[in-house]
């Protein structure tokens, strides 16, 4: 099996000229504009023979200094006869809705709901909000700006310098990864009296 095969990517660009291919490390990714997302999916299934839905995932688009503003959605589908894969990629901004490929592959529904729940993407078409997280959960855990509250609340044993004890710590100079600065989080109500 050749995942993200270059040959299928080249044929996709022939069919849909608005796409562009980028190759690295023997893998090819086809960048599809958001408006052509479902069209590209249909062409992949009907013209390129990729009838097997493999996975759909999301990730932060990774602009330096602009964390969490745009997200990348990746779709990998496979041609069962040759077992070659095609990797499609599109970018979605904060205000945009992700068009659903469920009419093309019904199995994409779970993957789209998971991506929407974990990254806060807006999905076209209404579906129940919570798939994996509990009903009372707020926030989108896999976003880069999601802070793990446990790491904020629990004091880091390594914050002490040699020669200090927890009874009398000096100002914290070091913080482990994932702990934001002290201004993050709800403020405790000041005692009015």
């Amino acid at each position: 099996m050749t995942a993200a095969s270059g040959e299928l990517a080249a044929r996709m660009v022939d069919l849909l000229p608005s796409c562009a291919t980028r190759s690295a490390f023997a893998q090819s990714i086809v960048a599809v504009p958001l408006a052509d997302w479902v069209t590209a999916a249909r062409l992949a299934r009907d013209e390129l023979g990729c009838t097997l839905f493999d996975w759909l995932g999301a990730e932060d688009a990774g602009r330096p200094g602009a964390v969490g503003e745009r997200h990348t959605v990746l779709l990998h589908v496979v041609d069962p006869s040759t077992r070659d894969g095609l990797l499609l990629r599109t970018e979605i901004g904060a205000d945009e809705e992700l068009p659903s490929v469920v009419p093309v592959w019904a199995g994409a529904s779970w993957h789209e709901r998971e991506a929407a729940e974990m990254f806060g993407l807006a999905l076209a078409g209404s579906r129940p909000a919570h798939l994996l997280l509990s009903e009372t959960f707020s926030g989108h855990p896999l976003r880069k700006d999601f802070v793990l509250a446990s790491r904020v609340v629990r004091p880091w044993p390594g914050a002490l310098e040699p020669g200090e004890s927890t009874a009398a710590p000096s100002r914290r100079r070091l913080a482990p990864p994932g702990v934001p600065d002290p201004s993050w989080g709800p403020r405790r109500e000041e005692d009015p009296s």
């Binding site: 044993p157 390594g158 002490l160 040699p162 020669g163 004890s165």
Partner: protein, 187 residues
């Protein structure tokens, strides 16, 4: 019911014969290899409270408290500061047995021991898994000796006879190969 090999005493006997769980030999399992990650022992004499293990632990399960004392060793020009360990605790309920602390300790104060029989029991079972300095020091008895050196390797500089080879460093009792041959003062 089939007769089992573990003795089950009739109701009349009050003192219970302990249930026999098959030992490693009975179960056809070899004894544990010496590098088994069972528990971490603290050799307190080697610890200088550098805090590297507490900082590198991915689980934040090493808790160290210390204070600084000024000591004046005999014959030294001035007094020096020394870190004194007050508390060194490893929370084995949290520990993921990765060994990063053992590897990263610059003074070999932490060692693996193959012991695995230390569950927490009673009302505060999970809290009993926090092992303080005294417990960690007791595990030092279980630490196996280091594995023997590779017989095919070159001899250590300390053991090799005569001067060391080209450019090799010296040891505490024998000068290195470049001693007396460089323009640096003292060597």
């Amino acid at each position: 019911m089939t007769e089992s090999t573990s003795p089950t005493t009739p109701a009349t006997e009050q003192s219970a014969t302990p249930l026999v769980f098959p030992s490693a030999a009975d179960r056809g399992v070899e004894p544990l290899p010496p590098r088994t990650r069972g528990v971490i022992a603290l050799l307190e004499a080697n610890c200088t409270v550098c805090m590297i293990c507490a900082r590198e632990c991915p689980d934040w399960c090493i808790h160290i408290d210390s204070h600084t004392e000024t000591v004046q060793p005999e014959g030294a020009a001035r007094a020096r500061q020394q870190n004194v360990l007050d508390r060194f605790a490893i929370d084995y309920g949290q520990c993921l047995y990765c060994g990063i602390c053992v590897e990263v300790c610059p003074f070999d104060a932490l060692h693996w021991a193959p012991e695995h029989d230390y569950p927490g029991t009673g009302e505060h079972a999970v809290a009993e898994l926090v092992h303080e300095r005294a417990d960690l020091g007791k595990w030092v008895e279980q630490v196996p000796p280091p594995p023997p050196l590779d017989a095919a390797a070159e001899a250590a500089p300390e053991a090799a006879p005569g001067r060391p080879g080209r450019g090799a460093p010296g040891t505490a009792t024998r000068p290195g190969a470049l001693s007396g041959r460089t323009r640096r003062p003292g060597g």
